[in-house]
Symmetry: C2
Subunit: 214 residues, 2 copies
DNA sequence: ACTTAATTCGAACGAACGTTCGAATGATTT
DNA sequence: AAATCATTCGAACGTTCGTTCGAATTAAGT
């Protein structure tokens, strides 16, 4: 007899446009709670018993929805990253100016980051916690996201005839944005839009001013 | 009878200018190896048995040098942060130009970061792994470091009559610099000096150009 | 050489870990 | 109502965790 989770997962993989089944809704709920716990205690620091407590489900019951703690982290990371990439692509469709496209990238990133701070902290923090198989799949999505940003910056470079290291600029930008999970306090700091504007100012002035080849 | 580590540590707290005793040297060696292990497996993920293996000392023997795993992390964090602050202060003494002082700050940070990548990863990554007592002491040093950077930026602001949010600028700069532990590859990327120059360019142009009040 | 103190270790402790299994529920279909 | 499937759980598995203790070993002081 196959394990319950194997059967269950397969039975849900038929249509993807179908209204979320009971199984899917419960899984999503577990992922939400798990994200919370991973954020607060870290992946290694959080125990399955912590997750059991947070979800209100028994320890054994959790294993009906995923076959290991590692796969749970994988599901969280994959879902979070896929969502942010999908949203970005959708938003970029309606903007053509190179500078504005970068501002869209920054705003999209920060908005999602601040709205899902727990998830993003888990994503940033548990970067290399996944073993070969799962790690590779997440790395692929991450690389796509990175490549999009490189493309946006190269467009700007070409458009304004600028000279700077794209790699260093992109990674600096990611650093500025991702570090936010260590300091942002909703009661003190501005909202995503304001921060995106200010960071966009610093970054865009930084890479555009004073280094033209023309 | 008091625990060995209590006795031993007290007996070493007499003079601080004395040539490092056997105890101090062994402890420093353990800290080095432990830093390595924490970097590779994370604080929670690394076991005392891992540390025992890495140092070549027995599991029980380690407890002669520190009373808990948490205190070990504390010792690493405190030592690392104290060193970086001390070096910064020394370097700043000979530079007076506001922009150059910020460049010194960036270079000092990145040089130490890249030369002690493991230690800094532990420092960034295990930010809030320490409980109340230990956490507070590390936070104090960290805050001092942060305040120095705020001071440098405020000087620049006043000197050039600029307008921007110091807090956001400082935190953006820290993000740019600290994120480096996720991507720097010594075989591909430039050395600290080059990266410091490029990041300094981006950041300083970003905060100085186009926002004068004069 | 003898005594004392500093350092190291093997063996074990109880607690917590991730995971499994078979039985017990709850829901759906016949 | 019976039968089938989906979901949940209590109880336990073997492992590994951080830490302790008393004895053994090594170095230092006299």
């Amino acid at each position: 007899m196959a394990s319950p989770s194997t059967i269950a997962r397969r039975s849900r993989h038929r249509a993807s446009a179908v209204p979320a089944s009971r199984y899917d809704k419960r899984l999503a709920e577990i992922l939400r709670h798990a994200t919370d716990v991973f954020c607060k205690k870290g992946y290694e620091g959080a125990s399955m018993r912590d997750l059991s407590r947070a979800t209100g489900m028994s320890l054994a019951g959790l294993y009906y929805y995923f076959e290991s703690k590692e796969r749970l982290l994988f599901l969280i990371q994959k879902h979070t990253f896929s969502t942010i990439v999908a949203r970005l692509k959708s938003r970029l469709e309606s903007v053509s100016d190179p500078e504005q496209r970068i501002r869209v990238f920054i705003l999209n990133h920060l908005e999602y980051f601040l709205a899902n701070q727990e998830a993003m902290k888990v994503l940033s923090h548990e970067d290399d916690a996944l073993k070969n198989g799962y790690g590779a799949e997440v790395a692929t999505i991450k690389r796509e996201y990175y490549r999009i940003c490189v493309g946006l910056l190269d467009d700007l470079k070409q458009n304004r005839k600028l000279e700077f290291s794209t790699r260093l600029a992109v990674l600096s930008l990611f650093g500025m944005m991702n570090w936010i999970y260590t300091w942002h306090n909703p009661r003190v700091d501005a909202d995503a839009e304001s921060i995106a504007r200010e960071m966009g100012d610093i970054f865009l002035r930084g890479v555009t001013s004073g280094s033209n080849t023309a």
